[in-house]
């Protein structure tokens, strides 16, 4: 039996409200808040990046399980904003957590699903008996181009999961991956901001892949949507996950605990993993949890977890996602935000 033995998330302290961004570009904040269902988003501090967010999330995951980091045999970091183009984030994170040197690490990239890719690989290595524990992290400090719709959503944060075979908090029952070549969203090497195919990002990309993965794992497992206590779908905005969930037969009640996008934004590789983390924060023993990620390009990873009797013992051992979202954020105006995100050209 393989499952999550520790989990944790980190969301930076800074936020910007949708009104600030709308005001800057002469857009209608009310329409955006209603259409995208986004109120505010997290913004990384000047000294934060995918590496520091990964370390912060991983430390919380370690707090929720009593293991020696030296026994972690594999570490995968999924992000579309690794600080270096060449040089792994995983080495810095492994060093900071005390996992070095006897471990395998790799940086993964698959738009918004790089974090769940890491989870997919980490659990498989544990299941195969290759390593005792494996850690997967999804973290990002994503950038939307100024005035682009993505600017309302692209945010910063991450979540970490440690997989093992003993003291499991949530057993991993089934996985399924669904992938095709779909150019809905991309960023070429060296380009600062991503490009997206406008309307093309919805139906043939997000909905097709999320539904494809969800239907396949439901068929594989024999479960029906009503068997689940909770469901998490990748959150590029507030509307897409609720819409796709409804299409598949899930209810708002099942999705609500993991639907953190209205206050956090889209943390890309950290999006559905943080939804899972927020759900584990409130899960009870025996609860079935359904999760589907989505990464442009495009693909979805689906997971079915079952919370064990140990889940309630660890929920309070580290700060919960909803606590971080509510914990006295520091609000930025657009000027401060532009400085924080290095959108202002400085004199060298």
């Amino acid at each position: 039996m393989v499952g999550i033995i520790g989990y944790g998330s980190y969301i930076p302290k800074f936020r910007i409200k949708a009104e600030q961004i709308a005001h800057q570009w002469g857009k209608d904040a009310v329409a955006i808040k209603r259409g995208l269902m986004l109120q505010e988003k997290s913004v990384p501090g000047l000294d934060e990046d995918t590496i520091t967010i990964s370390v912060a999330a991983a430390k919380k995951a370690l707090k929720r399980c009593n293991i020696d980091p030296q026994e972690i045999g594999a570490l995968y970091i999924g992000s579309e904003s690794h600080p270096y183009a060449v040089k792994p984030s995983g080495t810095v994170v492994g060093e900071a957590l005390g996992i070095v040197p006897d471990f395998h690490t790799a940086d993964l990239e698959f738009a918004c699903k790089a974090g769940s890719e890491g989870m997919f690989i980490a659990q498989a290595l544990v299941k195969a008996g290759e390593v005792k524990y494996a850690m997967a992290i999804g973290a990002d400090t994503s950038q939307g181009a100024p005035a682009d719709a993505l600017e309302f959503s692209a945010s910063a944060g991450g979540s970490a999961f440690i997989f093992g075979e003993e003291n499991i908090l949530a057993e991993l029952l089934f996985t399924h991956s669904y992938t095709t070549d779909t150019p809905d969203f991309w960023r070429r090497e060296g380009a600062f901001y991503p490009h997206h195919g406008g309307r093309f990002t919805g139906e043939p990309a997000y909905f097709k892949h999320v539904q494809g993965a969800a239907k396949a794992i439901l068929k594989k497992s024999g479960y029906k949507p009503f068997d689940f206590k909770y469901a998490i779908f990748h959150m590029p905005n507030g509307k897409f996950p609720l819409t796709v969930g409804k299409k598949l037969g899930f209810t708002d009640e099942q999705m609500k605990p993991g639907w953190v996008v209205n206050l956090m934004g889209n943390t890309y590789s950290g999006s559905s993993p943080t939804g899972l983390s927020a759900t584990l924060d409130v899960a009870k023993p025996g609860d079935l949890i359904f999760m589907v990620s989505f990464g442009s390009g495009a693909g979805s990873d689906a997971f079915i977890f079952k919370a064990t009797g140990k889940i309630t013992d660890v929920q309070n051992k580290a700060e919960k996602v909803r606590e971080m979202l509510a914990d006295d954020p520091i609000y930025l105006d657009y000027g401060q935000y532009a400085k924080f995100r290095e959108k202002i050209i400085m004199n060298e």
Binding site: P12, K13, L46, D47, D49, Y84, A96
Partner: protein, 129 residues
């Protein structure tokens, strides 16, 4: 900061590893080779606690070029739970509201960049607990 020194100091900068004198128990951060209290050269490695209190602090308003974007920022002496004192930046806070005695915890952050194309240096900073 030269890169070889950064590599050598990773255990203390990344993981708060300190040296505890086996002769008298004094903890040194950064670690030393000879105890200045009892003269012992025998140390064991300990990890510092992440939580502490601000003993005193100053606000930097005119910073070196590399840190200009961060002003005003706070540099504090923090006393950790085991009594060890360290000097560190305090971030993610309104510097106007900072007070002596504030409880803080150490976090892993980007400290410096060797220019736009050089390596990124990481280390500890404090945030309000």
């Amino acid at each position: 900061m030269p890169s070889p020194r950064y590599r050598r100091e990773m255990p203390q900068r990344y993981r708060l590893e300190a040296g505890k004198c086996k002769g008298c128990g004094k903890i040194f951060f950064p670690p030393r080779l000879i105890c200045n209290k009892c003269g012992s050269e025998d140390f064991e490695q300990v990890v510092l606690p992440e939580n502490g209190k601000i003993v005193t602090f100053t606000i930097i308003r005119v910073a070196p070029a590399q840190f200009e974007a961060e002003v005003p920022y706070a540099i504090a002496i923090v006393e950790l739970e085991n009594g060890v004192r360290i000097t560190t930046q305090v971030v993610d806070c309104d510097t106007e509201k900072l007070e002596i005695g504030n409880e803080v915890k150490l976090v892993f952050r980007k400290v410096q960049e060797e220019g736009k194309t050089g390596i990124i240096l990481y280390g500890y900073k404090a945030v309000l607990a």
